[in-house]
C-alpha cells in the first residue's frame, strides 16, 4: 500500500467519509473508492465500484470476483461515535470502555462540575445544552446516544434530537417507572410510538449489573448487540 493512500484513509476517517480500498490480489494494484459518490482514484471498473458500495453498506470487507480478477474490498467506514448526555459516575467507566471498543466518545453536560477534565481525562467534553449540541451534529448510523442524567430538563430535549436522527442506538438510564414517565413526556412533545420504540430503556442488557462499571458493561454490550445484530436482536 502506498503511504499516500494510507494518509488519505486517515484523512477520510477524520472527515467521517466512508472509503473502500480495492486490492487486485493478482497484481497488487490498489485504488480507493468512495461509496457515497461512486468516485474512484485511480479509476475502477463499474462492477468493482458497485461491489464496493455494497460492501460499505454491509460494513463487511471481503474478496469478490470481478471480470476474472480476485479483488479484496477493504471497508473503512467512519469511526463509531458515542454521545453521552450527563457526566455522571456511570459515564466515567462507560467512556473508558467505549474508547477501548473503538468509539470516539463525547460527554455533554452543561454542569461543568460534572463534565470536568479531571473526571474525564482525554475525553471530549461539551458544556453546552445537550439538545443544542445534538441538533448541530449529524447523528449518523455510526453514532450511539446514551442519556444518563435522570434530569428531564437535560435528557428529554436531547432525546428528541436523537429520535429525529439516524443514530443506531438510543439508550436512557432510569427504572421502568422513570422510563414510563419519560415516554409520557415525550408523547407530549409530539413524538410517535414508532420513534419512542427506538429507545432502549431501562438502558443496557439485563445482567444484574449493580456498580457503575457493571452498568457500563451492560450498556456497551447492548450497543454492540444492536450494532452487530440489528434492532431486532
Amino acid at each position: 500500500m502506498k503511504q499516500a493512500l494510507m494518509e488519505q484513509l486517515v484523512a477520510d476517517r477524520a472527515a467521517r467519509r466512508a472509503a473502500v480500498v480495492a486490492t487486485d490480489l493478482g497484481d497488487g494494484r490498489q485504488c480507493i473508492i468512495y461509496p457515497e459518490t461512486g468516485n474512484a482514484e485511480p479509476e475502477a471498473p463499474a462492477p468493482v465500484v458497485e461491489a464496493a458500495q455494497k460492501a460499505a453498506r454491509d460494513d463487511t470487507s471481503g474478496v469478490v470476483e470481478c471480470a476474472g480478477r480476485r479483488v479484496f474490498l477493504n471497508v473503512f467506514n467512519p469511526a463509531l461515535r458515542l454521545m453521552i448526555v450527563g457526566g455522571v459516575h456511570i459515564a466515567q467507566p462507560l467512556a473508558a470502555m467505549a474508547r477501548s471498543a473503538g468509539y470516539q466518545v463525547t460527554i455533554i453536560d452543561p454542569r461543568t462540575a460534572f463534565a470536568s477534565p479531571e473526571r474525564f481525562p482525554g475525553v471530549r467534553l461539551l458544556t453546552e445544552w445537550p439538545d443544542e449540541v445534538l441538533s448541530s451534529i449529524a447523528l449518523d448510523s455510526r453514532t450511539a446516544v446514551v442519556t444518563l442524567t435522570h434530569d428531564p430538563k437535560l435528557d428529554d430535549a436531547a432525546l428528541r434530537e436523537a429520535l429525529l436522527s439516524d443514530a443506531f442506538y438510543i439508550g436512557c438510564l432510569g427504572s421502568r417507572k422513570t422510563h414510563d414517565a419519560r415516554l409520557e413526556r415525550l408523547r407530549g412533545l409530539g413524538l410517535g410510538e414508532a420513534a419512542l420504540s427506538r429507545i432502549h430503556g431501562p438502558v443496557g442488557l439485563d445482567i444484574g449489573a449493580r456498580s457503575p462499571a457493571e452498568i457500563a458493561v451492560s450498556i456497551l454490550a447492548e450497543m454492540t448487540q444492536i450494532l452487530r445484530r440489528g434492532a431486532r436482536a
Binding site: L9, V10, T60, S61, L125
Partner: protein, 117 residues
C-alpha cells in the same frame, strides 16, 4: 499505543489504530508492512479487514488472529520487506506442514502481506 491518546483539543480517537502506528513508524524512517485478513472460513478469530502493522524491527500493532499465527505473519513480513513484493498466505489446521503453525479453532484464513511504499 498509549491507552489515553489525546490531541491538543483534549479529544481522543479510537484507542488502538494500526494504520496510525504504521504512519508514525514511517515518519521515523522505518520500513513497514501491512498484513490484512482477506478471507476466512469456519471459526476464524478475526474477520476480513483486520490488520496487523509490522515494523522492520519486529514491533507490531493490531492482529490477524487470536495470536496463533502472528509470529508466522511477522516472519513473512520480513521477507516481503526484502523482496518488496506482496504475498498471499494461507493458514489452516490442515496446512501445518507449510507454515508449522495453524489455527487451533479449526478455521482457515488468507492473509495478504504488502509493503508500505
Amino acid at each position: 499505543m498509549a491507552e489515553s491518546h489525546a490531541d491538543s483539543n483534549g479529544t481522543d480517537d479510537a484507542a488502538i489504530d494500526p494504520l496510525s502506528a504504521a504512519l508514525a513508524w514511517r515518519s521515523e524512517g522505518a520500513a513497514v508492512a501491512l498484513a490484512w485478513v482477506v478471507e476466512t472460513w469456519g471459526s476464524a478469530p478475526r474477520p476480513p479487514g483486520s490488520v496487523l502493522a509490522i515494523r522492520e524491527d519486529g514491533r507490531f500493532e493490531g492482529s490477524v488472529s487470536g495470536g496463533c499465527i502472528e509470529g508466522a505473519v511477522i516472519a513473512a513480513a520480513g521477507q516481503v520487506l526484502e523482496s518488496r513484493q506482496p504475498r498471499l498466505l494461507e493458514f489452516g489446521v490442515s496446512n501445518a506442514q507449510a507454515w508449522e503453525v495453524g489455527l487451533s479453532c479449526g478455521g482457515r484464513i488468507k492473509v495478504y502481506v504488502e509493503p508500505v511504499e
